[in-house]
Structure formats: structure tokens, C-alpha cells
């Protein structure tokens, strides 16, 4: 604290700072984990290192990753969303059924779906901030209601559990180009969702680390009363986070619809946990206030590698969920350990 101690203290800062900064990153545990999984499957599955396998792995990662990004932000903000999995399906159903029933251009359905999905997100956030009930309960309610609505409306309107095909409708081709096309980059076939995913990760990272809103997200998760006391709009931040989740559910939903042209109304149940797992493996704290968007991407990448690696290694995919569970436990333990080391004085 005294003046003469200043100079040596600054030297120590330089040396310790780099190590500490690295150790203090929330992604560190997941990056170590991802490297381990990558090396492991490189050895046990011969075809794992081929470029075609890599693009398959990236595609699988992106379908989870697109949702893991906003879910990670929401968890940093201290809340959960259990309705994400079925919200993706709802979004696809609204889009498909609106276009078909109104015989409108597919893009009209896509637009209506965006509004409807954002409204669901707003509902989640509004109910949470108004009632002050745990987000677990609120979104569990939304989850069940959406599951019922998905099935009920689809049967009511199309008579079966899946929607009618919209593949021959006006605007479908351009919508498919945006949400479910392939591109070939340097001989590698890449799904457009990978671009969406990378774009969202970059955007979320920028928002989190370099904008006022990002500062508020960390604050409402790490101490919402303290944040409110210094003038942070806590409720608006939380509602915004839920609407961010809804926006990404809309992207995922449109991808789901455009890659086939029909949607099964029962899909999506259980996926909400995959998104949460990716976020947690990526270093998000269950209690909020800590985590990163890049971490969620690494978490999703681990998911993609494991789910496809098991196939390439020609194992029985029945074991996949076991690996996922074990990975979640290991990652959480590693994160806890790393953070304890990083925060030790």
C-alpha cells in the first residue's frame, strides 16, 4: 500500500498478470476439454480427421451452438430457460403453417414467426420480472404450454402431427438459401448455419465485453440488487435476454423448417438441456454472473465432436448420453477448480 512498494508491485503485476489473465478466462476449462476430446477421437476414429468429417462435426455443433450463445448470455444474467427446445419447434411451426394456410409467400410466414417467437421470449421475461418467481418455474410452464400448443394446433390444422410441405411455395428457395444452404469453401462443404453460429458468437462476445449492455448482463447475474442500486435497468436487461433467446430460437426454427420443408410437431423436447450443457461446459456459472459466449461455442463444439466421433469410431451411439453426462460433470469440476485458483489472492 505504501509508496515505496509501488514499483516492485507493478513488476509482479506484469509477470503474474499474463498467467492470471489466462487462468481467469471462463473458457479455459472447456478449451482444455475440447483439445482432449479432439485428440481422443483422432486416435480412436480414423475418419475423424478428414475434412468431410470436420464439416459434419461443425454442422452438428452449429445446430446446438446457435442456441447455446443466447442461453449462455441468459445464464450469465442469472436465469434459465427450459422452453428453448420446444420454442425452436414452435417458431418453425408458426412459419410453416402461416405460409401454408394463408398461401402467402414463405417470407411472410418467416416474418410472422419472428414476431410470434419474440413475443414468447417477452412473455418469459415479463412474467419473470413481474412475478419474481424463479425462472425455472416460469419457463417450465412455458415449456409445457408450448409442447401442448405445438401438438394441438398442428393436429387441429393439418390433421396429422407434421405440417404440410411448403417446398413448392413462393419464396421457399430464397428462404432456404438464407437458413439451410450449403457453401463450398476451399473444397469443404459447409452448412450456412456455421456462419450464423460464428456470427452470433462474435456479436455476443462484442456485446458482453465491450458494451454497456454487456456490463449490465454480468451485473444482473452477479448481484441484481447491487446492479439496481447503481441504476442498472435490471428488468429490461432480463427481458432483453429472453428476447435474445427467442431471436436465436427463430433462426434455429427456420433452419429446421427450410432443411426439410415439413416440421414434426413433437420435436425439440430435451434440446433445452443440450443448450444449457454447452453453456455450462463453456464456463457459465449456474448461479450467474460469470461465463462467456466463446465458451458456449467450445461447449457446442465438444458436443458436436462427441456425437459424431462416436459414429466415426463405429461405436453404438446409445452410449452418447453417458459421455455427455460425464463430460458435463468433468467440465464443471474443472471450471470450479480453475476459478478457485484464479481468484485465490
Amino acid at each position: 500500500m505504501s509508496a515505496e512498494a509501488t514499483a516492485p508491485a507493478d513488476e509482479r503485476l506484469l509477470r503474474r498478470g499474463i498467467l492470471r489473465r489466462l487462468m481467469g478466462r471462463p473458457e479455459l476449462g472447456s478449451v482444455v476439454g475440447a483439445a482432449a476430446v479432439f485428440v481422443f477421437f483422432s486416435f480412436v476414429a480414423e475418419s475423424f480427421l478428414q475434412t468431410s468429417s470436420l464439416s459434419t462435426v461443425l454442422y452438428a455443433s452449429s445446430t446446438i451452438g446457435i442456441m447455446a450463445v443466447p442461453v449462455a448470455l441468459l445464464m450469465i444474467g442469472g436465469e434459465f430457460d427450459l422452453s428453448t427446445g420446444v420454442m425452436v419447434t414452435s417458431s418453425a411451426l408458426v412459419s410453416s403453417m402461416f405460409s401454408y394456410q394463408m398461401t402467402a409467400n414463405v417470407w411472410v410466414g418467416v416474418g410472422v414467426s419472428l414476431l410470434a417467437t419474440l413475443a414468447i421470449g417477452f412473455f418469459n421475461g415479463f412474467m419473470l420480472t413481474r412475478t419474481k418467481l424463479p425462472s425455472f418455474i416460469i419457463t417450465l410452464g412455458t415449456f409445457l404450454m408450448l409442447t401442448g400448443l405445438n401438438l394441438g394446433f398442428t393436429k387441429l390444422i393439418s390433421g396429422t402431427v407434421s405440417t404440410k410441405t411448403i417446398g413448392d411455395m413462393e419464396g421457399f428457395d430464397s428462404a432456404r438459401a438464407v437458413f439451410a444452404s450449403h457453401l463450398t469453401l476451399g473444397g469443404v462443404d459447409l452448412q450456412v448455419t456455421i456462419l450464423w453460429w460464428f456470427g452470433l458468437v462474435a456479436l455476443a462476445t462484442w456485446v458482453l465485453l465491450r458494451t454497456r449492455v454487456g456490463n449490465w448482463i454480468f451485473a444482473v447475474g452477479g448481484g441484481s440488487d447491487a446492479a439496481r442500486a447503481v441504476g442498472v435497468p435490471v428488468n429490461k436487461t432480463k427481458i432483453g435476454l429472453y428476447m435474445g433467446v427467442a431471436f436465436c430460437a427463430w433462426i434455429s426454427g427456420q433452419h429446421l423448417l427450410m432443411s426439410y420443408d415439413v416440421v414434426q410437431s413433437g420435436e425439440g423436447v430435451g434440446n433445452e438441456f443440450l443448450y444449457i450443457i454447452a453453456a455450462v461446459i463453456g464456463g457459465c456459472l449456474m448461479t450467474g454472473g460469470y461465463g462467456s459466449a466463446i465458451g458456449s461455442a467450445v461447449g457446442a463444439f465438444i458436443f458436436g465432436m462427441t456425437s459424431k466421433g462416436i459414429v466415426y469410431a463405429q461405436w453404438n451411439p446409445d452410449w452418447f448420453k453417458f459421455f455427455l453426462g460425464a463430460m458435463l460433470l468433468l467440465a464443471t469440476l474443472l471450471n470450479a477448480w480453475v476459478r478457485k485458483r484464479a481468484e485465490a489472492k
Binding site: 500500500m1 449490465w216 440488487d225 441504476g231 442498472v232 454472473g289
Partner: protein, 270 residues
């Protein structure tokens, strides 16, 4: 001279519970007004009204002569009232520099490229804290790794930096040891010398008497006394604060229970 903040006969009810009734106090620039009271006396309610977390139900609340009814902490902040809470002063997991600017972050750029001015935030945090005598090894460390006293000082430095006219401190020394309490009280005095009006909430009359200019005593939600420092001695303040006659009763009861009150040590029992 108009008081920075003046409460006259302010009351607050939660349903049929009387949390605060008929409380008056004044805060002047360059003075420290201490609010003393035991647990449940209504100190927290009072602070929440001044900080804008709750609206008062009766009486008048004026800021620089203008009558107000605050709807949010933001409104209080905009009018120059900054509150530092004992437990909720900071967000523990966030770095010191992010905490320092939380809620009032400086930005540069425009439109979609509007971003935090990170270099300025770090530099200002470091220099402002240094000015208050806190030499941080690293402004990037989570603020939760600082000691309780240092955290309070960061919160006070933050309020001073953002141009608060009135600083409200909720039990700043309650969870601290003797030495750290001294450090915090030094910064409270420094804020007063910088021309701020300070409201110091405490249940420790010794700390209050060290720095206070006026003392308001609360008891069960009502005013139990209001004194300038020249009118009251520490002993009397302590006695009133602890409840005067109740204290006499207590020492009487303790004496009957066999506790030596005349200072003669007893080697029986323990």
C-alpha cells in the same frame, strides 16, 4: 442556506405495519448526519426512501428545496444522491474497473459501434482509487477478492467521482474490524471535506460520534431524538441509543442474575 436533503415528518407503511413515522432530518453540504438506531428501528426503510428504492407515504422530502417523490434509484442518482449499501455495494465476480463504472459506463463511437471506453475506465479506476490511497495490484481482479473495507472505499470513491452531492452510507463499518473501520471512516471524512453531504447509518455510536455533526436517533420506526454534536456528549448518545432506561433495567437484571457489576472478578462458575 438550503439543506441538500430535508425530510419532514416522513412516514412509510407496509400494509398495516408502521415501518417509519414522523421522521425528520437535514443534510447540509460538508456535514455528516448520523442516523442511529438498533435493529428494526427503521434505518433501512429510511435509507430506501432517500435512495429511491421506496416511495414515502406521508410527509415531505425535499432535495435542494424542491419537493420530490423518488420512483427509482436512477432518479435519486440523477439528483445527486448516491447510496452505498453494506452488502450490495458491488458485484463480487466482476472486475474492479467494471464495478467502478457500473450503471454509468463511458462510451465512445456511435450507432452500432458504440462501445465501452475500456482504456479510460481502467485508467480512471486506477487513478481514482490511488487518490483515495488504495493501490490495487490489478484493476482486473474480481472485486470480491478485495477486503470488506476496500470494497466500501471503492464504492465511496465511485460516488465521489460521479459527482454525488449527497452520499448515503448504510452501516459501512458493521462487518469490519477496528482498523478497517478506521480506514472507512477516514474516507467518509474525506468525502465530507470534499463538500459532500453525508448520511451515515450505523448502530455504533462510537463511530458516529467520531465523524458526525448531527445525530438522529430512531426507535421502533419513530424519532427518539435529534441533536447537534455540540448539544450532546458521547456517553449520553450511547445511553439514548441503547434505550436509556432500558439499559438501566438491563444492568439491574444482570446484577440480580449474579454478574459482577462492581468489577470484582469471580472464579466461580466458568
Amino acid at each position: 442556506m438550503t439543506a441538500l436533503v430535508e425530510l419532514t415528518d416522513v412516514s412509510k407503511f407496509y400494509g398495516n405495519i408502521r415501518a417509519l413515522e414522523g421522521v425528520s432530518l437535514e443534510v447540509h453540504a460538508g456535514e455528516i448526519t448520523c442516523v442511529l438506531g438498533d435493529n428494526g428501528a427503521g434505518k433501512s426503510t429510511l435509507i430506501k426512501i432517500i435512495a429511491g428504492l421506496h416511495r414515502h407515504d406521508a410527509g415531505t422530502f425535499t432535495i435542494e428545496g424542491e419537493e420530490v417523490r423518488l420512483d427509482s434509484p436512477r432518479e435519486a442518482l440523477d439528483r445527486g444522491i448516491a447510496t452505498v449499501y453494506q452488502d450490495l455495494a458491488v458485484v463480487p465476480l466482476m472486475p474492479v474497473w467494471r464495478n467502478f463504472f457500473l450503471g454509468s459506463e463511458p462510451t465512445k463511437g456511435a450507432g452500432p459501434f458504440k462501445r465501452l471506453d475500456v482504456a479510460k475506465m481502467r485508467e480512471t479506476t486506477r487513478s481514482e482509487l490511488l487518490r483515495m490511497g488504495i493501490d490495487l495490484r490489478d484493476v482486473d481482479q474480481p472485486i470480491g477478492t478485495l477486503s470488506g473495507g476496500e470494497r466500501q472505499c471503492v464504492a465511496i470513491a465511485r460516488a465521489v467521482y460521479f459527482g454525488a452531492k449527497v452520499l448515503v452510507l448504510d452501516e459501512p463499518t458493521a462487518a469490519l474490524g477496528v482498523k478497517q473501520s478506521g480506514v472507512v471512516l477516514k474516507y467518509v471524512a474525506a468525502a465530507r471535506d470534499a463538500g459532500l453531504g453525508v448520511v451515515l447509518i450505523t448502530h455504533n455510536p462510537h463511530h458516529a460520534y467520531l465523524v458526525g455533526d448531527r445525530f438522529v436517533l430512531l426507535k421502533r420506526g419513530a424519532m427518539a431524538g435529534s441533536h447537534a454534536k455540540s448539544e450532546i456528549a458521547l456517553d449520553e448518545l450511547t445511553r439514548q441509543m441503547a434505550g436509556g432506561s432500558e439499559l438501566d433495567q438491563l444492568s439491574h437484571e444482570l446484577a440480580r442474575a449474579g454478574v459482577a457489576t462492581d468489577g470484582e472478578p469471580s472464579d466461580k462458575g466458568m
